[in-house]
Amino acid sequence: MNEKNIAAKPDGRYIIEIRDMHKWYGDFHVLSGINLQVKEREKIVICGPSGSGKSTMIRCINRLEEHQKGQIIVNGTELSTDIKNIEKVRAEVGMVFQHFNLFPHLTIMENLTLGPIWVRKIPKKQAEETAMMYLEKVHIAEQARKFPGQLSGGQQQRVAIARSLCMQPKVILFDEPTSALDPEMIKEVLDVMIDLADEGMTMLVVTHEMSFAKSVADRVMFMDAGQIVEENNPHDFFDNPQHERTQLFLSQIL
């Protein structure tokens, strides 16, 4: 086993703990009794039909959505209405969105240094050096002075990944990161995500890219109707799904 793979192995500490979490949109019970523990360096892929609540669940982890019942503890901090706690959690949790959500009025470099400078209070020069390092990592360093609108979708998503890396997060949430991309750009984004996984980043990925799940995930989860229906290691999940709804879903997308 080489060094990379040792670093990539999950260790014992829980970075995210969700206990019996419920969420309602008005009267509608979107998430019901979610329990989830994520260890450091663990890679989890969440799949499920649209409307199953998988995006909503990971958005609860950095409080883009509010849960109404149960506990969410991120890196030792429990999420409550306390805005200081929320900001603390958000600084530790990176997020990559389906539609990239880069800041169009800022250059790529400014997009990357905004968080480090204003949230982490890192000096500008140092933040730029770090940003350049991550831009090189996602193979896009030569675009640093351009604006997001001048890049392709795949490039923008790689910038978005670099932007969350610049905050040196404990965990990164990916909310369907390749769903808005043209087919030929999906691979360049997935390759960057695979590199990250190999280096031991803790990742929660909502995606329909089952090849990614097979090759990278420690655990795969299937969600339906606001509940986690089934979870297993990728091998058993794909070859021997237990639940009827999982079987139906897999037969539809594979």
């Binding site: 950095n62 958000r90 009025h105 905004l114």
Partner: protein, 367 residues
């Protein structure tokens, strides 16, 4: 796909030039002015209209006109009597400001215009610029009011003409803009008290004409003050203009805030930026850019609306011109005077609107 990559030519494929038959002056005329019978008719009518009106106007304004003569000399000519301007230049521009002290308002205006021109470059928008404006405000106030350094005191009731117009409008605009932005943020606040206060303010102010606000500030407001306390009339008019303009700016800015995609807030939140940072660094720079065109519309209106202070007996440049025209010698030359005034207003308004277009261009980041 991006603009640059879209224009990159790939090797191994032939790129043709656009057809040449559509280029050249005659082709342009045919394509744009004479492409259909009704378009041709319109073009002919337009040319006829210009031919009928322009030469006589030119003759009136430039050939038969007098530029700096006495009023008596003007009576013998058919053309324009532009002399009304140079002959009354002091009163039109400076109104009742005491003779011998004219250098003070002129210097104040020079400082104001100079600073506006200096502020045009975006790289100068730093904290030091804010200090320069504050210092300039004090210096201009001192110059106009006097009472120190051996300058005799000039009461604000004597401030008139162009300095009054410029100060009311520029300081009105500069103070109203940030106030309007705050009101817009307040109206979108989740805190019910702040939201309600902002909504009530905005709707109340927008529900009354500026004239009535000016009246209230000048007639009603003093009634509520304890005896012996007075607040300067010019200052009250200035506050009324600021309050009025801010309410309109607030609604335009709110439109810009609503146009912002939710993903921008979420991306800022997910980085851990707090509310103030999110607004200042992410949301407002984009939202304010979107609403530059309607904002400039409001600022232009505010600039021109300062002429309404005439109803509370302040003598802005429109009023000083009117007073000049009430002199029997010059009564007949109102056309010339108003053309001159229109030109003056136009210069300031056009400068503002072309600057706004430049800003839009500079802030465009492709998308």
């Amino acid at each position: 796909m991006s603009e640059d990559t879209a224009q990159q030519k790939k090797p191994g494929r032939e790129y043709l030039d656009a057809p040449i038959t559509k280029i050249g002056a005659v082709a342009w005329l045919r394509a744009n002015l004479f492409n259909t019978w009704y378009n041709s008719l319109l073009s002919v009518l337009l040319v006829y209209g210009l031919a009928v009106t322009v030469p006589p106007f030119f003759k009136w304004a430039f050939v038969d006109s007098l530029w700096n003569s006495s009023a008596a000399a003007c009576r013998d000519i058919d053309g324009a009597c532009w002399s009304i301007i140079p002959q009354n230049v002091k009163f039109i521009f400076l109104g009742f400001f005491p003779t011998g002290q004219e250098w003070r308002p002129i210097l104040a205006m020079a400082i104001l215009i100079g600073l506006v021109i200096y502020s045009r470059e975006r790289h100068r928008w730093r904290k030091s610029l804010l200090w320069m404006w504050l210092i300039a405000l004090v210096v201009m106030g001192t110059l106009m009011h006097g009472g120190v350094f051996g300058m005799p005191v000039v009461e604000t009731s004597k401030w008139s003409g162009l300095p009054l117009t410029l100060m009311l409008s520029f300081f009105g605009i500069i103070a109203a803009y940030p106030l309007g932005v705050l009101l817009a943020l307040g109206r979108r606040s989740r805190m019910p008290t702040i939201k309600t206060m902002c909504v009530v303010y905005i709707e109340m102010i927008r529900g009354v004409p500026l004239i009535s606000l000016l009246f209230m500030s000048s007639v009603m407001f003093p009634l509520f003050l304890p005896e012996g306390v007075t607040i300067d009339k010019v200052l009250r008019a200035q506050v009324a203009i600021i309050m009025f303009t801010a309410a309109y700016i607030a609604e335009v800015v709110r439109g810009g805030l609503q146009a912002m995609p939710r993903g921008q807030y979420e991306a800022a939140d997910s980085l851990g930026l707090n509310y103030g940072q999110t607004m200042r660094l992410v949301i407002l720079p984009q939202a304010l850019k979107i609403v530059i065109p309607p904002t400039v519309g409001i600022l232009l209106a505010a600039f021109k609306d300062t002429s309404l202070v005439v109803i509370i007996a302040l003598y802005d440049i429109l009023k000083t011109t009117k007073v000049t025209l009430s002199n029997p010698q010059w009564t007949n030359y109102s056309t010339e005077a108003y053309i001159f005034l229109a030109l003056l207003y136009f210069i300031f308004c056009y400068a503002m609107s072309s600057y706004s277009r430049r800003l839009e261009r500079e802030l465009h980041t492709g998308r």
